[in-house]
């Protein structure tokens, strides 16, 4: 068995935007030129703009609910940039930054929050599974998918376009679920090509991480015999580096990795939540000073790599995204009522068929006024 290794928290960029040397992880980011770093930066800015817009739409009554990713853009965008096209992603329910990097139209996320469907996108298109709202249920799916990848022989072939890794995103709260421990067990005993990416955003609704664990979460992975690493989750560069290493390990047949990204949920749990009831403003302010977007901007600006033209273009892209989000949401209408009978089964089911027929008759009788 590989010796589980726990290193100090990996950080490549300080909150002030200063690059710190790290001989283990520097090679992982050496190829990222200023243009690539600017894309990383842009993706975080766009994710945040999406977040702001969706939150506003919820406030205006256009969405029933929204789960902001505010503050977690570094962990999400940084890790997602390390993914290969053939890799498969299992998100929880606030990984908007990951979805954006994978190329999804983020308005697809809002269909569920507007209440027009339960899914919103074709998982195969960008190799991103649907959101899972039952906390902790999906890491097992990621492991099973990875076991399938193993059986298909899509690991350790040496072909970078073929070797495939799977990544599961979940939160600190989710680590308490039995299903998550089972996922770690199955991944470890099968040496499945999967990466567990835990965003420890310090809160599971009103319960602080100390309500879920007595030890740093990174040690959970160690206990299962899984190489584990803690990373500064507000450092997009470090998140990229540790995820790249973990994905490579998976693709090369080295089995699973457990990553704890230490970050912070800057906003409410959801738009229905009132964090003022359980945490104080000083804590939020302390984390604001470690903002992932600010730190990459400082780094690029200090290096003279943030030309005004780029910033202006980015502003325009963000504005365009905001308009797109607003327009798309406003135009989202509920599907026909009868669609609730669609896809309940993949093959005909007499009860569903009978109820659909009854429903159709009832609704048309409603329309022609022959029933109330």
């Amino acid at each position: 068995m590989t010796q589980p290794d726990v290193l100090d928290t990996v950080q490549l960029l300080t909150p002030e935007g200063t690059r710190v040397a790290d001989h283990r992880y520097d090679p992982r980011v050496a190829h990222l030129d200023p243009a690539a770093l600017r894309e990383l930066y842009a993706d975080m800015v766009l994710t945040r703009r999406f977040d702001t817009e969706a939150t506003a739409l919820q406030r205006q009554g256009e969405l029933g609910l929204f789960t902001p990713s505010l503050g977690q853009e570094g962990a999400q965008v940084g890790s997602a940039h390390a993914l290969a096209p053939q890799d498969y992603v299992f998100p929880a329910y606030r990984e908007h930054g990951v979805l954006h990097v994978r190329g999804l139209d983020l308005t697809d996320v809002l269909k569920q929050f507007r209440g027009v469907d339960h899914g919103g996108w074709d998982p195969a298109e960008h190799r991103v599974h649907l959101f899972t709202l039952v906390v902790g249920a999906h890491p097992l799916h990621a492991v099973g998918y990875a076991m399938g990848v193993q059986r298909d022989g899509d690991v350790a072939t040496g072909d970078p376009n073929r070797d495939t890794a799977v990544i599961a995103y979940f939160g600190d709260g989710a680590t308490s679920q039995g299903d998550v421990s089972e996922a770690l067990t199955f991944a470890a005993v099968n040496q499945a090509p999967v990466v567990f990416f835990v965003q420890n955003n310090q809160w599971a609704i009103s319960v602080p991480t100390s309500g879920q664990t007595r030890v740093p979460l990174v040690q959970r992975g160690v206990g299962f015999g899984i190489p584990s690493v803690q990373v500064d989750g507000n450092d997009p560069l470090a998140c990229y580096a540790v995820t790249a290493e973990a994905l490579d390990r998976a693709r090369n047949g080295g089995g699973p990795t457990f990553i704890e990204a230490v970050t912070y949920r800057m906003g409410a749990h959801t738009t229905s939540d009132d964090p003022l009831r359980y945490r104080d403003a000083a804590e939020v302010a302390a984390w604001r000073a470690k903002d992932p977007i600010d730190r990459l901007r400082r780094y690029l600006a200090d290096a003279g790599e943030l030309p005004q033209q780029f910033l202006d273009d980015l502003d325009a892209r963000a504005e365009e995204l905001a308009v797109h989000v607003r327009d798309t949401v406003h135009a989202m209408t509920p599907p026909p009522a009868e669609s609730m009978f669609d896809h309940v089964y993949a093959t005909p089911h007499s009860l569903v068929d009978a109820e659909r027929a009854w429903f159709r008759d009832y609704e048309s009788a409603l329309e022609d006024g022959s029933v109330r």
Partner: protein
């Protein structure tokens, strides 16, 4: 084992207060916590936050974090440890945050909690209450609007109850806590904000019991059997029907396991017609159980087949379609019309 009746205090005047159903639950639990040191509450976000519906608001401040426990995020853990606490003499009241999140605990509830009393030949009692906000109509996302009652009612060893009014919420939660049996306590979340006058009886005052249905509106022509969120629907339908000259008798089942067939049968013997309404899917549901018993026991009095109104055999739909799925006043009256036309 002490029962509620053993602990009845001599009362003089009982204060009443206008309360929401949610607040009535809070005060019911507060009363139990004050009078029985073995009672404790456990669940996700129930302490500092007071629960996502604020049903435990203020209770951790009054009783401390050992009696109002913010648990780790693990429903199987909540129910499993509640079983152990109960074996040690405590009366845990578990909050499951939403109906759709009880399933990680389903194993503990159905294989362990429900059976320990029988398996131990009655030596072990497990007085655990599992509170579950259930039902739809609140515009929520997936897993937040479901009605899983039959999954529990089908399991011997569990009592399954659901209050429909603030007054019942206040007394039934206390009766559930005092019960030596495990109780699945289903709270109609869509009615949490309904307000009514509640008599704040002292702890131990005998209530209507956890195994009795109630006729909440007498009528002559047809019996509507409802529970939880649909009691309100049935009462509104009865008003409309009355204006049209049809007199509906409305029964609030209050308890799903056991089902108080006597009250239902007595009513249907009088009216000769019966419609059952619930949010849960009609197929294999409570309505089927009621219909079967009514058919057995009122065969010669029945003027029409027993009809059922409820959800479809589909996943609970996205919120913008839920009004098509939920039994509305109109859909209930349509069934009433069909039964009356026979």
């Amino acid at each position: 084992m002490t029962t509620m009746a053993d602990r009845t205090d001599a009362t003089t005047t009982v204060p009443t207060e206008k309360l929401t159903l949610a607040r009535a639950l809070t005060l019911g639990m507060r009363t139990a916590l004050r009078h029985d040191p073995s009672v404790l509450l456990m669940g996700e976000d129930i302490g500092r936050l007071g629960g996502v519906f604020r049903v435990t608001d203020g209770l951790q401040a009054e009783f401390g974090p050992d009696r109002v426990v913010d648990t780790p995020l693990a429903e199987s853990g909540i129910v499993g440890t509640a079983i152990g606490l109960a074996m040690r003499g405590y009366r845990p009241v578990c909050e499951i945050q939403f109906d759709g999140f009880v399933f990680p605990a389903f194993d503990q509830i159905t294989t362990m909690l429900a059976k320990l009393h029988a398996r131990s030949l009655g030596r072990i009692t497990v007085p655990v209450v599992i509170r579950i906000p259930y039902g739809g109509g609140i515009g929520a996302v997936e897993h937040h609007s479901e009605s899983p009652e039959v999954l529990f009612a089908h399991t011997a060893g569990l009592r399954v109850v659901s209050p429909a009014t603030p007054a019942d919420a206040y007394t039934m939660i206390q009766e559930a806590i005092a019960s030596p049996d495990p109780v699945i306590f289903l709270e109609p979340k869509g009615r949490y904000w309904d307000k009514a006058e509640v008599a704040l009886t002292p702890y131990g005052t005998p209530g209507a019991g956890l195994d009795k249905a109630r006729v909440v509106r007498p009528g002559a022509d047809l019996t509507v059997v409802a529970y939880g969120p649909t009691v309100h629907t049935a009462l509104r339908a009865a008003e409309v029907a009355a204006e049209e000259g049809t007199s509906l008798e409305v029964i609030d089942l209050r308890t799903i396991s056991p089902l108080d067939h006597d009250t239902v049968v007595e009513s249907v013997r009088g009216t000769g017609r019966c419609v059952v309404v619930h949010e849960a899917a009609v197929s294999h549901g409570v309505g089927a159980e009621v219909a079967a018993r009514v058919t057995e026991e009122c065969f010669f009095e029945l003027e029409a087949p027993v009809l059922r109104v409820g959800g479809y055999h589909t996943p609970y739909p996205p919120s913008r379609l839920e009004h098509h799925y939920l039994p509305s006043v109109d859909r209930l009256l349509d069934a009433v019309d069909r039964a009356m036309a026979v």
